[in-house]
Symmetry: C2
Subunit: 335 residues, 2 copies
């Protein structure tokens, strides 16, 4: 890729797209031009980038003419249809959706963990599932030092993972509840205000939802370890944009808590966040707007000699999505 690429964001008005735009600006991402593509309902709207007013453009095959680098953040179906077109026209695609993640020729990349996978890309690079990314930022450094055999994870996932309209729905449903009014949901089929529910991705015959299976499959691919075992329970909680996860991590051999802390403290992109004296640990609000994944609550599993418990929290729109995508792009520029 040339060093000053022509860049496009597909899905610029979405939750991920908006944060992508901010990050390209705040991180001074080197680019020659930026094209913002959105659905027809954004026709005629504009967004500001580096002081310039950019008009949103509709998605079409010709929209990719002259584009070197595209961020796809408009859902799986758009990616499936248009990412190959963008690649055929010479662009590199960084895809937020799950469309290509498990394709054997598509690198699935968290730069801090497996940047080397970028070298063999064929035009499309997949950005992992947000919940997987946040977990793996803390899992991978431990796994490198002491092989992890099994992970049991329960998640506390924010509205943002379901998009900007889901955040709006949570806020509006909560407002209606507080004001004693009724509210008609558009996104979720269960009450979200003052409630939690099983992640709203498709349910498979094995009893797991898609989000839970992604955690297993993407973990294996990113760690390059088809043997690692994982069982997940993914739950939507009424928070705005940070996912939290309770991780039970079983190693091949016993690992001391202090050693695990030391490994993670020296790992990039994650920060210990806890105040044991006050009994305060990372919460979604603490992680909001932060690039780093917050970790803490490391403790010996009371039920298994080789296992540790841990708590991680990360901004779903930053490391969980847009930040990781921009980091992939930054890594590509230095390849």
């Amino acid at each position: 890729m040339k060093s000053l690429p022509n860049v496009a964001i597909i899905g610029a008005t979405g939750a991920v797209g908006q944060v992508l735009l901010q990050l390209l600006e705040t991180r001074s991402f080197p680019l020659d031009s930026l094209k913002l593509i959105a659905s027809p309902k954004s026709d005629g709207k504009t967004m500001i980038f580096r002081g310039q007013t950019l008009r949103l453009e509709p998605l079409s095959e010709s929209a990719f003419d002259g584009i070197d680098l595209c961020f796809f953040a408009a859902g799986k179906e758009i990616s499936k249809r248009f990412a190959p077109i963008a690649v055929a026209k010479g662009a590199v695609v960084i895809d937020k959706s799950s469309a290509f993640r498990m394709h054997p020729e598509v690198p699935l990349v968290i730069p801090e963990i497996n940047a080397e996978a970028l070298k063999n890309h064929q035009g499309i690079i997949a950005n992992p599932n947000c919940t997987a990314t946040i977990m793996l930022m803390a899992i991978a450094p431990l796994h490198r030092k002491h092989r992890i055999e099994r992970i049991i994870v329960a998640t506390y996932q924010a509205a943002s993972g379901a998009g900007a309209e889901a955040i709006e729905e949570l806020r509006e449903e909560v407002r209606a509840q507080v004001e004693g009014k009724s509210y008609s949901r558009k996104i979720f089929s269960q009450q979200y205000a003052f409630n939690v529910f099983t992640h709203n991705s498709p349910l498979f015959d094995n009893g797991y939802v898609d989000e839970e299976m992604k955690l297993l499959e993407e973990t294996r691919k990113i760690l390059g370890d088809p043997e690692i075992r994982l069982s997940a329970t993914c739950v939507r909680v009424p928070t705005i944009r940070s996912h939290a996860e309770a991780l039970n991590i079983e190693f091949q051999e016993p690992v001391e808590v202090e050693e695990a802390y030391a490994i993670l403290r020296s790992s990039p992109g994650i920060i210990q966040h806890e105040n044991r004296e006050k009994g305060l640990f990372a919460s979604p609000i603490d992680a909001e707007g932060r690039n780093e994944v917050l970790f803490g609550r490391l403790r010996k599993d009371l039920s298994h000699p080789n296992a540790l418990e841990m708590w991680v929290v990360g901004d779903q729109l930053l490391k969980g999505a847009s930040l990781n995508a921009v980091q992939i792009a930054e890594s590509l520029l230095t390849l």
Copy 2:
């Protein structure tokens, strides 16, 4: 105990006390008289029971004169100080607090599971921790059929577990957030609106909070199995009065999902609640106001041949607290 006892509720105005009062009425609990005891700040206030206006009385040693049965729901310190006094004056105490739960001479009872433990009581009977009760309602029937060796649990706990003022704090903080106003918390030290945080009970040196250790200790006592292993992560989520729990249950041998469903479907006090076609599972809102613990999402743990995953939800103020206490009292009357 005589068949028409004189009953007292200590802590009648609290979240648990209010629901206790409702249950004694709706379940037509046989009693001769009811005395409502509350803190001095409720002086002069009244509550209605079976159409009668009862004046709240202050707590004192003489308040227990003539009382046959007391429900203590005013916190651990009040129980520690006054439960022995009530017993010395001839009353049987059913204590919601953790004050006496692990005392070897105090039965810790969930009537559906270990009613037989009531027979040896010495005056005080402990009501288990709400999170433990909700979990054990689904765990005990399985354990009886196929020995459970290990449980890993992550919880999604409601405001009600921290009392009526915590529910109020959650509602008011959410209202302030929605209206863009500031709010000064009194109960919790972390933002609760649109947030989740580690359970606010004291932190021990082993990295677990008190609530998590209770889950282990009370599980062992109630199941009468000092060998069962358990590791917990307890998390407060912004819901009002139902706790949800993600359970990973490892048996001594493989157990089929359909057999586990069949065992639980024929067990008292729990109900399967799920619609797999629509991908809908029990949520805290579904459990609110229901006596039964809702269970579902049984599935083979993808990471262990002997383990199942399960999801349970129960009303913290009903089976988690007041209902179980009233059921203990009902069991005592038929002893």
